[in-house]
Amino acid sequence: MNRSSRTSIKRFLVLREAFFFLFLVGCTPSAQDIPESVETSPADHRVEFQLMSDHAPRSSRQTDWFLDVTTKSGVNFTHQSGRKAGLFTMPEGFGAGVAVLDYDSDGKMDLLCLGGGTISPDGKFSGAPCGLFKNNGDFQFTDVTEQVGLNVPVDYSHGVAIGDIENDGDPDILITAFGQSRLFRNEEGTRFVDITEESGISLAGWHTACAFGDVNSDGLTDLYVAGYLQWSFEEDQVCKDPESGRRDVCMPGNFPDAQDHLFLNLGNGKFREATSDAGLLPGGKGLGVVLEDFDRDGSLDIYVANDVIRNYFYKGHGDGTFAETAVLGGLVGNEFGAPEGSMGVDAADVDGDGFSELFVTNYENEDNSLYRNEGRGLFNHQTVAFGLSGLVRPYVGFGTLFLDADLNNLPDLIIGNGHITYHNRQSDFQQPSMLYKNENGKRFGNVSDQAGAWFSVPRVVRGMARADFDNDGAIDLVISEWEGPISVLKNQHKANSWIGFTLQGSASSRDAIGARVQIFPLPRFHERTLRSGGSYLSSSDPRLLFSALQKQSEPVDVRVEWPSGQIELYSEMPPNQYHRLVEGLGRPILDTP
């Protein structure tokens, strides 16, 4: 072979190699290229310890808004994520919610905690049992899980909704899961029975937030359940941090949406799926749901906080059908209408104009969104104007609640944070939770340093619910953490003049979601609305509470707009206690005051 022919062959080979190299540089392995066997390295497991650094809380002060009373409360419950399997599955990061309910109708709010689950090395998910803690008063709880029959196997649990599906006065429980979601009927406050199969609620797949409410005005509470992703271990992808090359959980955008569902209550614990008739949009990556009559037209509306894609606002027609109006309604995402990674949601009348604002927690580098309700289903993104822009941008927001923590009758705001990816260079996995004080309905001020010792420690917060556990008129908190304990926080403010109500519908569904209550004489922010859902995968105390009454010891009159349209007046209600208001037992009135 002469020299020139050798050179030309060599050149051909080099060119071929060069093109091959170019191809390699531009390509990353596709999901199909990745073997099914799961890559775990000792480094991945080591990170587990780095994830959960120990932080010592500061010591408690008398002026703290909340005091952590978990240790003495008897609530000893820890969530499991299955992370220890080292498989970086999608469901393991989302945590689980908590629910507050009076399951035995003794007037004291009990506590239901969801356990999440475990994952075996070959990717099989098993649910961890939930825990029901009976409130004995004075922040003392007893674990009654076994006693009431809730120590049954459930799938990998996420969300919880409480609703009276048979109008019998006993709150029933829906638990959503990665796997089969389950409906438990409360049998006279003594036992819970799994009625999933006979109820007609068939929810396999991955479902998260859920809420009960009568959306077709037939006096029976219906059910909305958000779907998250179509994900399975078999079709999982291997995702790596592009910079460090370390394996991490994937982003939700890598997987298709899961459908949300609406189930209409047929009575006697039976439901009918009405998803397509209701006009729900296909797909969705829902993590937060709240039901309320936001536009005050007498029909329940539904707001769904979606991860990665835009949020949905279903304006209810009162007959079980809806029109999705988030785009014109100004509720799709950030200030400029772009979608965000939304997780938790709550609503309250922040500025005292009679319309409930919506608040949505978002992913890092995104502001949380406060949507001011302008009426008629129209909202205006007002995060900046209310001083809520910025401070939480480094954090990933999950559970959130409006609650009048300082008992001045203005809804304050609490936000729980905690990352979802393990190896984030920008921010820690454990993140601080925040407390904002409502400043006269115009702005929020950060008072996290006064919130309490619990707040001084970064955590991985997920679910969150409000409850007046000791019936003292001051709202307390219960918070769930990813792979962490349930925390019970006692509100340290002393309520001088307050009044609370449990609503019981008759013509309306017994839960009376959507009812409005006003008290006289009128202090500012004198109106409360009963809503369902909210926070993140959690369910709060269903009672309505008013603080800072104008005349401290004098009885008040109460006006209730029931979801049925009935308006009634309840007279001379003594303050500083809870009252049960039953629809039909008040004095009917026609005009607004």
Partner: protein, 388 residues
């Protein structure tokens, strides 16, 4: 001495003369070989011809390579240069790959190849040449900087970061390296890391222009991170040393908005809105936001319309315009702009998705065309050009 030579010449016999003539001939041939047809000489000639007569230059290089007794990397490098100048991209890349140890070649020549390749948009070759040059300690800093520039241009920011780290390793006191790092992190929205890098740069820099630019970025980062208090502090420090640039005016107005002082924010940018400064449209948009905050709906609408006229793809302006129309009960107009904004948002999401797919499979022409089209429709003309 001369006499003896002379006599020697006359006394030598014919045999000796022949020997002498042969010797002279060999020397002459040697000289001719060395000065006219030696590989090095051929290369020198090729180098001279490279710019204007690339074909002849290439022939000379090939001849030189043929005449060399072993591998001739210098010739191969020159061949690469000529191929670049002839616009033969793939061949130049192939020829460069033929060089077994390019890092052993003179760094100046590698830098020249890198530059030529970069100018002819042969970025991969440029990257390889700069990488080889960067192995030469005396030219490492220059080569790394050039390499980082190419990597950033070709949007290989993760890779660029690796070389920025090398640059910092070579000289951790190099403020430029920290500035580049900060810029890369900022582009990737790694705000915490960007802030860290810019603060390092500020500790080291003696250059006023650099300090000003870094401080401007720092203000932006602190605002974006939501750290209003720190942003205010940083802005005050900036204003003690420098005059407000248009960018700083915008940041200050935005900061005032976050602090709950939209009226003061308006004052800061009013003037900028009336100029033909390149930042004018940004200023008009921000003025619209501030006017909307102040419920001056009609004039806010005017601002958003101005922005949309210039930049019909401005989804945020459409969204805000919809909000303003809605507040004035002009629902039909609100609906139109809300839908445009939504459509643009969906395109932006689709673009993100397609861009990552294209990164996985750069050879997909239809995907590339779609990415270019979406970039153009969303006003990202520079990005579109890069894909072209």
């Amino acid at each position: 001495m001369s006499e003896s030579l002379f006599s020697w010449f006359f006394v030598m016999n014919s045999k000796k003369l022949i020997c002498l003539a042969a010797l002279l001939l060999i020397c002459g041939c040697g000289w001719i070989w060395y000065s006219v047809i030696s590989p090095q000489n051929l290369l020198d000639q090729a180098n001279e011809l490279a710019q204007n007569h690339p074909r002849q230059a290439l022939e000379l290089v090939q001849e030189a390579m043929f005449r060399s007794v072993s591998d001739y990397p210098e010739a191969e490098l020159l061949r690469v240069k000529i191929l670049i100048l002839s616009g033969r991209r793939e061949e130049s890349l192939g020829a460069f790959s033929l060089i077994e140890h390019p890092e052993r070649l003179p760094a100046e020549k590698l830098l020249e190849i890198g530059k030529l390749a970069q100018e002819s948009r042969n970025y991969f070759l440029s990257e390889l040449a700069y990488q080889a040059a960067a192995k030469n300690p005396s030219h490492q800093v220059v080569a790394l900087r050039a390499l980082i520039q190419v990597l950033l241009f070709t949007r290989q920011e993760f890779k660029a970061l690796t070389f920025v780290d090398q640059l910092i390793e070579v000289n951790s006191q190099d403020p430029l390296a920290w500035q580049i790092r900060g810029n890369i992190e900022l582009n990737q929205r790694h705000l915490a890391e960007a802030e860290r890098a810019f603060r390092e740069c500020l500790k080291l820099t003696q250059n006023q222009d650099q300090e000003q630019s870094v401080r401007e970025n720092l203000i932006q980062i602190l605002i974006d991170r939501g750290n209003v208090r720190e942003a205010r502090k940083e802005l005050d420090t900036y204003l003690e040393k420098f005059l407000r640039t248009a960018q700083v005016r915008l940041e200050e107005a935005y900061l005032l908005r976050l602090e709950g002082h939209p009226e003061q924010g308006l004052e800061r940018i009013e003037q900028l809105c009336e100029t033909d400064h390149p930042q004018r449209i940004k200023a008009v948009y921000l003025r619209g936001l501030l006017r909307l905050d102040l419920k001056n709906l009609e004039i806010a609408i005017g601002d958003f319309k101005t922005v949309i006229k210039q930049q019909p793809w401005h989804k945020e302006a459409h969204s805000k315009l919809a909000m303003a129309y809605r507040s004035l009960d002009q629902i039909d107009l609100a609906q139109i702009h809300a839908e445009i904004s939504e459509e643009l948002n969906q395109k932006a999401v689709r673009l993100l998705d397609l861009t990552s797919k294209l990164a996985e499979d750069p050879g997909q022409t239809s995907l590339r065309q779609e990415v270019i089209r979406l970039n153009q429709e969303l006003g990202n003309f520079e990005e579109a050009k890069k894909y072209q």
